[in-house]
Amino acid sequence: MGFILTTLHFFVIGIIASFCTRICCNKGPSANLFHFTLVITATVCCWMMWAIVYLAQMNPLIVPILSEGE
C-alpha cells in the first residue's frame, strides 16, 4: 500500500510542477510542450529511482548484521 500511495504522491507532484511551470513561464505552445517534457522526464526519473530502492527493500533476502563494537 505504501508503494502505491507514494507513487500517487509523485504523480500529483508532477502535475503540480507542470502547472507551476505553465503559470510562471508561458511562452507559446512549443515552448510549453518543451517545459512539460522536462518536468515529466524529471518526475519519471525521480519516481523510478525511489521505486527501485523501495521495491528492493520490500521483501529483503538479507538483513543487516551489525558489526561488533556498535
Binding site: 518543451f34 524529471a42 526519473c45 527501485i52 530502492v53 527493500q57 520490500m58 558489526s67
Partner: protein, 821 residues
Amino acid sequence: MANHGGGGGCCPPMDLFRSEPMQLVQIIIPIESAHLTASYLGDIGLIQFKDLNAEKSPFQRTYAAQIKRCGEMARKLRYFKDQMSKAGFTPSVLTETKGDISLDDLEVKLGDLEAELIEINSNSEKLERGYNELVEYKLVLQKAGEFFKSAQTSAVAQHREAASDQAPEESLETPLLTNQESKSDQGKQVKLGFLAGLVPKAKALAFERILFRATRGNVFLEQAALDEAVVDPSSGEKVEKNVFLVFFSGERAKSKILKICEAFGANRYPFVEDLVKQEQSITEVSGKISEIKTTIDAGLLHRGNLLQTIGEQYEPWSLLVRREKSIYHTLNMLSIDVTKKCLVAEGWSPIYATEQIQDALEQATIDSNSQVGAIFQVLHTKEMPPTFFRTNKFTDSFQTIVDAYGVAKYQEANPGVFTVVTFPFLFAVMFGDWGHGICLLLATLYLIVKEKKFSSQKLGDIMEMTFGGRYVILLMSLFSIYTGLIYNEFFSVPFELFSPSAYVCRDAACSEATTIGLIKGRDTYPFGVDPAWHGSRSELPFLNSLKMKMSILLGVTQMNLGIIMSFFNALYFGNAVNIWFQFIPQMIFLNGLFGYLSLLIIVKWCTGSQADLYHVMIYMFLGPTDDLGENQLFPNQKTVQITLLLLALIAVPWMLLPKPFILKAQHNRRHQGVSYTPLEGEDESLQVEANHDSHDHEEFEFSEVFVHQLIHTIEFVLGAVSNTASYLRLWALSLAHSELSTVFYEKVLLLAWGYNNVIILIIGLIVFIFATVGVLLVMETLSAFLHALRLHWVEFQNKFYEGDGYKFHPFSFALLRDDDE
C-alpha cells in the same frame, strides 16, 4: 525549403526537439546600398552567407583594398594598445558609443595619432639618451676630479718630503711628473695624455688586461667603481660601471686605446686637468641635466595625456574597425554583376527571420537613398541546410554538450531535449550524497548570482568552462541532493529522516544482532535506503545488489528511449522501411532479452523469491527447455522464455535482410526509364551559376548497402549486451563515491574526535575539508560528469543519432566579439 519531408503530423511541435526550418535565400543588392545592407544584416545576425567567390584568391576580390585599409587601422590600434600597456594604461570598458564615426575619419585620425605618438617616442628617446650621457659625464668629472686631487695631495706630500732632502725651489705649481730631461731637451719631451670615461664593470678586468697588452705595459690605468648603476645611453638599461682614467704617451698608443675603448663599449668623455675648468664643467653639466630632466618630464606628461585620450576611445574604435572588416569580408563573398551594378548574395537563414530580413533590407534602401530596392527571394535546393537551435542561456550549455559529440543532422530529433534532465540525473546517481550536493549547490548559486559580473569579465580557461556550465552544475547539484536523500548519505552519515528504521532486533536483548542479524519488523522505510544498513557487515552485498539492478533498470529504460526517438525520426522523415524493418525488430530484441531481465528483477523484488537471476538468464539460452525448479518466478515462465528466445532469434535476420532488398527495389522504381534529368525551373532574371546540384544521379551499390546494414545489425545485437553492461558504471562510481566518503569521515573526522584534543580536532577538520573538496567535490564530480557524458554519447545516442550536420554560423556582429576574443 529543404527537401526532407516536413512531416511532424504525428505530434505537435516542440521547442528544441528539431532544428529550425531553414531556407536558402537569394538577395540582390544594388551597389550603393551594399555596405549599409551588410551592416544591418550583421546587426540582425540571422543569415549565413555562402561564399560565391570561392575560386578567387583574396587579392582578386572586389573589396580587397578596403580590407587592407581595415588591416592597417587594426595594426595601428594594436600599436596603441601596446604603447598603452607599456605605459601602464588600460583602455576603459566599452561605454555607449558617443556617435558614429565614419571609417574614413577614423583612418585619418588614427594616422595622425600614430604619427604623433611615434614622434613623441623618438624625441623622448633622444632626450633620454642625451640625459644619460650627461649623467655619465658628470660622474666622470667627479670621480676623475677626485683622482687628480688625491694624486696632487700625495704629490704635494711627496714634494714636502723630497723638499726636506733636496733644496731646489719648487712650488706646487710644478707639473706632477718632473722629467729631468724636460728642462734640457724640449725635442724629446714626452707629452703624457690621458683619457677618461666609463666602462661596464663586468668587462673592466678584461679591459685593463687588453690595454696593458696592447700598449706593452706603457699605460697607467686608474679605475673607480661607481656605487650605483647608471643607465647606459645606447642600450637604455642600467649597468654597473667603473670610471677609468688612462694615461698614455704617444700617438700610436692613443689610437690603440681609442679602438679598444670602442670595442668594449666604453664611453669616453672630455676631461681637462685644470681644477677651475673642472668646477665650471660640473656646474654646467648639472644645469644641463636639470634642464633636460624637465623637458623629458614634460614629454612624458604629453604622451600620457595622448594615451589617455586614446584609451577612452579605444574600445569603440576597435569594435568599429572589426565591424567594418567583417562587413567587407562578407561583401567579398557576394558575386558582383558589373553590368547591372548589383551584388548577388546567397545564404541560409531560418524561415522565421524572413520578415526581419526584409525589414532590414528596406531600411537600408531608405537610409542609403538608393533608387532601387533590394530583391529578396527564396531558392529551392536539395542541399542540406545547417542546423540551428534557438537556445537560451539555460539550454545553451546542454546543447553544447550534445554538439560536442556531433552536430545534429538537419531536423533530426535532438537528444538535447532529454539530456537536460537525464544527464544531471545520471550524474546524481553516481554522486549521491546530499551533503556534497548542497556544497555544489552553494558554489553554483554563487556563480549564478554573480552572472552579470562574470560574463563581462575575461576569465581563465577553467573558470570559463565552469562558468559556462553553471546551469548544468545547478541541475546536477539539485538531483544529487535528491539521490543523496535516497541513498541516505550526508557526508556518508545516514539519518532517520522519514520514519524509524524498518529493522529491529529479533529479541529484547539484541543478542543475535552481530551473528544472524536484525529482522524486518516495521514497514519498509518509506523514502530511500534504510539507515540500519550503514556500517553493518552485510551492507555491501545488499547495496551492490540494489545498485547493480538499479543500473540495469535505468539503462534499459534509457536505451528504450533512444530506440523510440529513432521511431519518431522515421515517422518525421516518412521512412516506413525504418519503422518496420529497424525499429520493430530492435524493440523486440532489446526488450525480449533485457526488458525481460528487468521484469524478472522487479518480480523477484515484489515476491521476495530466492531465484538466481544469473542462472535464469544464462540457462534461458543454454537450456531453454530445462525445468526451472526453484528459479521459477511466475507460472508458465518456461513457455514465456522459449517464446522470447524465438522472437529474439527472428528479430536478427528481420533487422538484417529485408531492408537492403527493399531499398534496391525502391531505387529501381524511382529511376525506371529516366534517361535525362529535367531542367530545374529557376525563374530569375539574372543568370546565376546553378551551383545547387540536384543529386538525381544517385549511385546505388547493393553490396555497400548490405554491408552497411550488416554492420548496423551486428552493432545493435552485440551492443545490446555491452551497452547494458556499460550502465553498470552507475553502480561502480556510486560505490566508489560512498566508500571514499565513508573513509574520509571515519578515518579522519571520527579519529580526530576520538582524541578529545581541540588541536587534533581542528587539524582533523581541516584535513577532512581539504580531502572532501579536493577528492570528492572536484575529482569525483569530474569523474561522474565524464561517465554520465559517455553514457549519453555512446549508449543513448547510438540508438538513433546521426549527428553529421553542420552548425549554423551566421554573419553577426554579436558573434564577432566572441570570435576575436
